[in-house]
């Protein structure tokens, strides 16, 4: 039995009257690479936003390493509007801001790349090291933390070398080609020393060769940094090649999950992706 790193229980996310995620439960085990797939607008990124605390889930709970990091139930106005289920199952209210979640060991990348645009490649990654500092504002300003700073710089350099970004380290992050910006986002996430890495469409905009390279890259960093990886992706070759398990959602609801072969042959998944032809109805 492998241990849970991440577990979602009955997560519902409702914006006004729109239910973006509906009663979703899933788990990601240590060392696994798990994919979350689904048609456009299925609510995949919303799942990430709930896990990382960008959105406050309307109902449900999230566990990280078996510790509850989020728990909520419909409150206030939502009580009346709530369209989901299990409204009484989670009496506690635990809400953490994204920075707290990251400091627990969950790092993420963004679907629409969000690099620090005024900074160089090196600074982008170095900034992510800020979270790990132990010194206060005065000692950093007076440079009493020079050892820590030097360490952070060295680690950043190593990371850039590992990801093949060391030759562009003085360039402005936004001047990099698209593919490299994706790698830089991963480097920045790794700089926070996560145990769980959430990748939101890392292969978006890449050609087949680049996607293949990315596939083996993700596998290799999983082993090298002792990571658990949770991916949202549309490139099916990558998903089928890389995933230990796959979850499929459509309209915010889980419609299938299992190992790649199972999911590939699931009627519900095929329907969701290809739609139902009129004759069948």
């Amino acid at each position: 039995m492998s241990e849970n790193v991440l577990r979602l229980e009955n997560i519902t996310m409702q914006f006004g009257g729109v239910v973006a995620i509906n009663d979703l439960s899933l788990e990601v085990n240590k060392g696994e690479i798990v994919s979350l797939i689904g048609p456009n607008g299925a609510g995949k990124t919303t799942v990430f936003n709930v896990i990382t605390g960008v959105y406050e889930a309307t109902n449900g709970a999230v566990y990280y390493e078996d510790k509850m990091i989020l728990s909520n139930h419909p409150q206030g106005k939502m009580k009346k509007m709530y369209a989901g289920t299990n409204a009484d199952k989670f009496p506690d209210v635990i809400v953490k801001t994204p920075d707290r979640i990251t400091s627990l060991g969950i790092a993420r990348t963004f679907q629409n790349i969000r690099l620090f645009k005024s900074m160089t490649v090196f600074e982008n990654v170095l900034t992510a090291k800020h979270m790990l500092k132990t010194s206060n504002v005065f000692s950093t300003a007076l440079r009493l933390n020079y050892k820590e700073e030097e360490n952070a710089r060295n680690e950043t350099m190593q990371l850039l070398e590992r990801l093949g970004l060391d030759d562009v380290k003085e360039e402005l992050a936004t001047s990099l080609p698209y593919g490299k910006q994706r790698y830089l986002e991963i480097a920045r996430a790794l700089a926070t020393k996560p145990k769980l890495l959430l990748l939101d469409e890392p292969a978006a905009g890449m050609n087949p060769q680049e996607t293949m390279a990315l596939t083996s890259f993700i596998k290799s960093i999983r082993d090298e940094f002792d990571l658990t990886v949770f991916i949202i992706e549309h490139h099916m070759n990558l998903v089928m090649d890389i995933s230990d398990r796959i979850y499929v959602i459509d309209f915010g609801k889980l419609i299938s999950h299992g190992v790649p072969e199972e999911v590939q042959n699931d009627e519900a998944v095929i329907k969701a992706y290809l739609g139902v032809s009129e004759e069948d109805e």
């Binding site: 990124t45 936003n49 960008v54 963004f110």
Partner: protein, 333 residues
């Protein structure tokens, strides 16, 4: 006792309603510009002040013209006032449109902070220009003698005697606001305005001439500011280069209070602020009359009549940042 308290309160409430109406006319300019450009038009208060100065200068230079034409001093003055009102309205609108064209249009694609800085720069420029032209002195508003004769007449309401402008202001304000709401709701340009304020870029793609819509917005805003200025300065008797700053800021707070982007919200907010501010000015007096403050004790509430507006602002921003009638905007991740 109660009657006496009422008669103490009444003048403050009445002038509060009047000032509120004047703030409302300025606040509409703020709220409409913000609704469409997401810009706090810091120069709007100064446009209001310039309208006051135009009135003074045009009246001074036109009266002799009429006198040369053979009218008596008194009727020349009245004609000159009427002509000046027209000039004020026209020139103020032109000023508003020019500012938009010269200082905001070139920055349409720039970050919001740049446009806001430009607005602050325009405000700084207008104030300095006004100091230069007036020599930094307070200029008397033409209210004496037969000038603005009808507006500044005293009339009696109940037991208190007030200027007629105090009663006229709220009525005129409400009429103008109704007309404006009809314009926004019923006409084609109003529909375009609503569309642009919802989504600037999509409206442009849908073929709406965004620049025209913005010009119309500035036209309306400046026009109402000019009307507000005519009413406001009739009460205050003189104009200084900085006399637009405070009413401007307060009107902006009123717009935020009512929910920025919403015209009725701005009007309601302006009346609330106007009334509260004036009651605060008289609160020492009122509380002494009511017997709460004894032996000539005073608190000095009047010192805070300006600050009150900002306290209200901070409270409303913290409790309900969207204001009374505002809509919520969320960022997409």
């Amino acid at each position: 006792m109660f009657g006496k308290l009422f008669s103490t309160c009444l003048p403050y409430i009445l002038s509060g309603i009047s000032v509120g109406g004047q703030y409302a006319l300025i606040a509409i300019g703020y709220t409409m510009v913000y609704g469409i450009l997401r810009l706090i038009n810091f120069a709007h208060g100064d446009i209001f002040m310039v309208a006051g100065l135009i009135m003074i200068y045009s009246n001074v230079s036109i009266t002799p013209l009429f006198m040369n034409m053979g009218f008596s001093a008194e009727s020349a003055f009245i004609f000159s006032i009427i002509a000046s009102v027209v000039i004020v309205l026209v020139l103020t609108v032109l000023l508003g449109l020019t500012i938009e064209k010269a200082a905001y249009r070139p920055l349409r694609s720039a970050p919001r902070m740049s446009v806001m800085i430009s607005a602050i720069g325009v405000s700084y420029l207008i104030q300095n220009a006004a100091i230069y032209i007036t020599g930094g002195l307070a200029k008397p508003y033409p209210t004496k003698g037969a000038a603005m004769p009808w507006l500044s007449d005293q009339i009696t309401v109940g037991s208190t005697s007030i200027k007629r402008v105090t009663v006229i202001t709220p009525i005129l304000t409400i009429l103008l606001v109704l007309a404006l709401v009809l314009l926004i709701k019923k006409t084609k340009i109003g529909m375009a305005m609503r569309a642009v304020s919802k989504d600037f870029r999509t409206s442009r793609l849908m073929g709406i001439e965004v620049n025209n819509v913005i010009s119309v917005t500035f036209f309306i805003g400046s026009f109402l500011a000019a009307v507000g200025s005519l009413l406001y300065f009739t009460n205050y008797a003189s104009v200084t280069p900085t006399s637009g700053a405070m009413p401007g800021l307060k009107a902006f707070v009123a717009a935020v209070f009512g929910g920025i982007g919403s015209v009725p919200g701005a009007v309601v907010g302006a009346f609330i602020i106007g009334i509260c501010e004036n009651i605060l000015k008289g609160l020492d007096n009122i509380l002494s009359t009511a017997g709460v403050f004894k032996d000539g004790f005073t608190f000095g509430f009047a010192t805070f009549s300006d600050a009150f507006t900002f306290i209200l602002l901070i409270v409303i921003l913290c409790v309900k940042p969207t204001g009374l009638f505002g809509e919520k905007n969320t960022d997409k991740v």
